[in-house]
């Protein structure tokens, strides 16, 4: 009996399980603040000098900051196509480079902040900037004006996303179910939105960041890895996993199966010595990435089985539902 009571007290004494407010305060707002800071720094540096070598470290920092929040497909980033403009990938038809060539050689008026904001998302953002700072084929004209237009646009987008959260959207999530909140009609709807983000983020990692370079066994396609030119393909996978673990931790505790599965996937990514997934072209290298891919899928299954029921919600519709 004593033992039993002790167990009950232990439960009562355990930290209150995490929830929407923790996710907003510990994960989302700091993440977007860091991204806004990193892109503002990048833009300041580009204004001072736009040689690729000088700007690359700030570019890498900004991309790191983006990876901490890129899975958050809700709120201001989904409005006005901001998320698409911040990092447009994949781009199988090479639309980005084509549009950038046009901008580089065309009317400079299209590079003013107002006009540039209307240009194709394929030409902008981190993906566009990567092509300018890590060119795989030389550009026919001076990329400097386009680099500056892109960093300014990126800083603006990051600022708008952060502002959108702090001046309204965070409150919408936090006041879910309150009178007057037309977006989230119950607390469960807010939990469902964040749970959907978590599961969808893992699916996107599996299907796209890992799935695209994997191709098929007969035809591996490592050249399709994300952010290859800047050497970030594996790093993006690792940072994304870490961000999703942070989200899971803030969203619900305890979730031992999900945490274990995410921890396993993160360890695999940390030990994978294949920064741009070039090893996929070899049988052993491919196997290693495949094992990582399976670990990500296991984490997704664990989250579905464990976190959804803990939150009392199912997964909602997401942007990957299309074909």
């Amino acid at each position: 009996m004593v033992k039993h009571l002790a167990f009950v007290f232990a439960l009562l004494a355990a930290p209150v399980h995490a929830d929407v407010a923790d996710v907003v305060a510990d994960h989302i707002l700091p993440g977007y603040a860091a991204f806004a800071q990193a892109t503002a720094d990048l833009d300041r540096q580009a204004a001072a000098s736009c040689t690729a070598d000088t700007l690359r470290p700030a570019f890498q920092t900004a991309f790191d900051a983006w990876m901490a929040v890129q899975h958050l497909h809700l709120g201001p980033v989904e409005e006005a196509g901001r998320g698409l403009a911040i990092a447009f990938w994949p781009d199988p038809k090479g639309l980005g480079r084509k549009a950038q060539l046009g901008l580089m050689q065309g009317d400079p008026a299209k590079l003013t902040p107002e006009a540039f904001a209307d240009q194709s998302v394929a030409a902008r953002g981190l993906t566009g900037l990567e092509r300018l700072l890590y060119p795989t084929t030389p550009w026919p004209a001076d990329p400097c004006p386009l680099i500056r237009a892109t960093t300014a646009d990126l800083a603006r987008l990051a600022d708008e996303v952060q502002g959108g959260w702090t001046s309204g959207f965070a409150d919408q999530l936090l006041t879910a179910g309150a009178q007057g909140n037309t977006r989230y009609l119950s607390k469960a709807e807010a939990r469902q939105a964040l749970f959907t983000v978590l599961v969808t983020g893992l699916a996107q990692l599996h299907d796209q960041r890992l799935g695209r370079p994997m191709g098929t066994f007969d035809r591996p396609t490592p050249e399709r890895a994300e952010a290859r030119a800047s050497g970030r393909s594996l790093r993006n996978v690792l940072l994304s996993l870490q961000a999703l673990r942070a989200l899971a931790t803030s969203l619900t505790e305890p979730a031992p199966q999900t945490q274990a599965a995410l921890g396993h996937a993160i360890a695999l990514a940390q030990n994978l010595d294949d920064p741009v997934f070039a090893g996929i072209a070899t049988p052993t290298g491919r196997l290693k990435v495949e094992v990582l891919q399976q670990a990500v899928e296991q984490a997704r299954q664990a989250a579905l089985a464990e976190i959804g029921p803990a939150l009392g919600v199912g997964i909602g519709f997401n942007a990957l539902d299309g074909d």
Partner: protein, 423 residues
């Protein structure tokens, strides 16, 4: 492409409560049966319209002229009306989702099929993007010699479609036929659709574009193939068909299939991939019916199809109104506010899509709306995108209201092995 559903024990409990509390309200079993009736009617109408298209294509082939080409194009546009209203059956019904790539795959690397403007068909991930089968009777595919001397439905479906495992190699379906009837739209975001001359189908010296005999053979084979594919799906929803059997076997799972189709089409597919992405890329190639400039109709009838499923209604090609027990009845019986809101939001999205349709029919084509900096076009498209996103939240509410639990709208593993989720 996979969409998974599962209904919980909760759903079964709910079914019981319906019987207990409201004998007059629709019951889940009647609602899913009527859903199958709607599907059967829409696919049957799609088949009828495709048969009219085949008659018009035969007339074009028999006597190519500006008139017969115009008639074939008009028959294609008519054929899209019932078909687009079936798209809401895709997500949620594996039998439809596994099949739909044969009839409505998009976007396509049209250079696989026929001539294209030099430099216009780049796809760094598809070595066949400019193969031009019509000009190439023999070629090598993944190391195998292919003899395409005779262009048959079997060659298109078994060898060419998704050749090399690449989805952009669309050799069959509405959009392949569309490309053959219209040709590439080279007007960018300016006015005008594809402008293939009728002489591309003339045999003998007056032939333009080369290989008119093979172009005609391709058009005929692709149209025949579309008809046999539609026959298959119409049968799948008729009495005794597999699609009907699946949704009626377990009404709770059937209800979830209905709502999954509505939500996935509204959000990820229509609002996201088809509308917002094209706008943000300012890319006329990203418009759905890009050769014919019929995108406004495709989007509108997609939206109408979503509302059809919720209301349990459909107006057939012959004007007959099909009505019956609906999701709306079921939701209203549980929570009238959710039903009222969702109905209003579905009306709003249909109205927003209608605004695009009307603008296009007044001369402001969908590809012009995509032009960078075109604020009027952006407002029209984003109006519909926002309406579709808004209704998605209420579709999720309807799922909750009916006590259905969606295990996974997107992944594939739980479909292959539902128990894996619970291990």
């Amino acid at each position: 492409m996979k969409h998974i559903l599962a209904a919980t024990a909760l759903g079964t409990a709910l079914a019981t409560s319906f019987t207990a509390t409201s004998a007059l309200a629709a019951d889940p079993s009647a609602v899913v049966t009527h859903y199958a009736d709607l599907a059967a009617a829409k696919y049957a109408d799609s088949l009828t319209a495709a048969q009219s298209l085949r008659a018009a294509v035969d007339a074009l082939i028999a006597a190519p002229s500006p008139e017969t080409l115009a008639a074939a194009r008009s028959a294609w546009i008519d054929a899209r009306v019932p078909y687009q209203q079936t798209e809401v059956f895709r997500f949620g019904n594996a039998i439809v989702d596994d099949w739909e790539g044969k009839v409505n795959a998009w976007p396509l690397d049209e250079g696989l099929i026929d001539y294209v403007d030099a430099g216009s068909a780049q796809n760094e991930e598809n070595s066949l993007a400019v193969l031009n089968i019509i000009a190439t009777p023999k070629f090598t595919l993944s190391g195998t010699e292919i003899d395409a001397t005779a262009i048959t439905p079997a060659l298109i479906s078994e060898t060419l479609h998704e050749a090399d495992g690449i989805e952009a190699n669309v050799a069959s379906g509405y959009h392949a036929i569309e490309f053959l009837l219209w040709g590439q739209d080279l007007n960018g975001t300016g006015p005008g659709a594809g402008d293939r001359p009728y002489t591309d189908f003339v045999q003998g010296d007056a032939c333009t574009g080369g290989n008119c005999d093979r172009r005609v053979a391709y058009l005929k084979a692709a149209t025949d193939l579309l008809i046999s594919d539609l026959e298959f799906m119409a049968a799948a929803w008729a009495e005794g068909g597999e699609g009907r059997a699946t949704v009626t076997a377990d009404p709770q799972a059937g209800l979830l299939a209905m709502l999954t189709g509505m939500g996935s089409l509204s959000y990820g597919e229509q609002a996201g991939e088809r509308m917002k992405l094209g706008l943000m890329l300012n890319d006329p190639e990203e418009e759905h019916d890009c050769f014919s400039d019929n995108t406004h109709n495709s989007h509108y009838y997609d939206g109408l199809g979503i509302r059809n499923v919720y209301l349990g209604s459909y107006t057939r090609l012959d004007g007959t109104e099909l009505t019956g027990p609906s999701l709306s009845d079921l939701v209203a019986a549980q929570d009238a506010a959710v039903d009222t809101q969702l109905k209003a939001e579905l009306d709003a999205s249909v109205a927003a899509l209608m605004a695009i349709k009307q603008a296009a029919e007044s001369g402001f084509a969908y590809d012009q709306m995509l032009e960078a900096g075109n604020k009027e076009g952006e407002a029209l498209i984003m109006g519909a995108v926002d309406a579709l996103v808004t209704q998605t939240a209420s579709i999720e509410r309807a799922v909750t209201t009916l006590g259905l639990t969606e295990i996974d709208f997107e992944g594939s593993d739980s479909l292959d092995n539902p128990s894996a989720v619970f291990q």
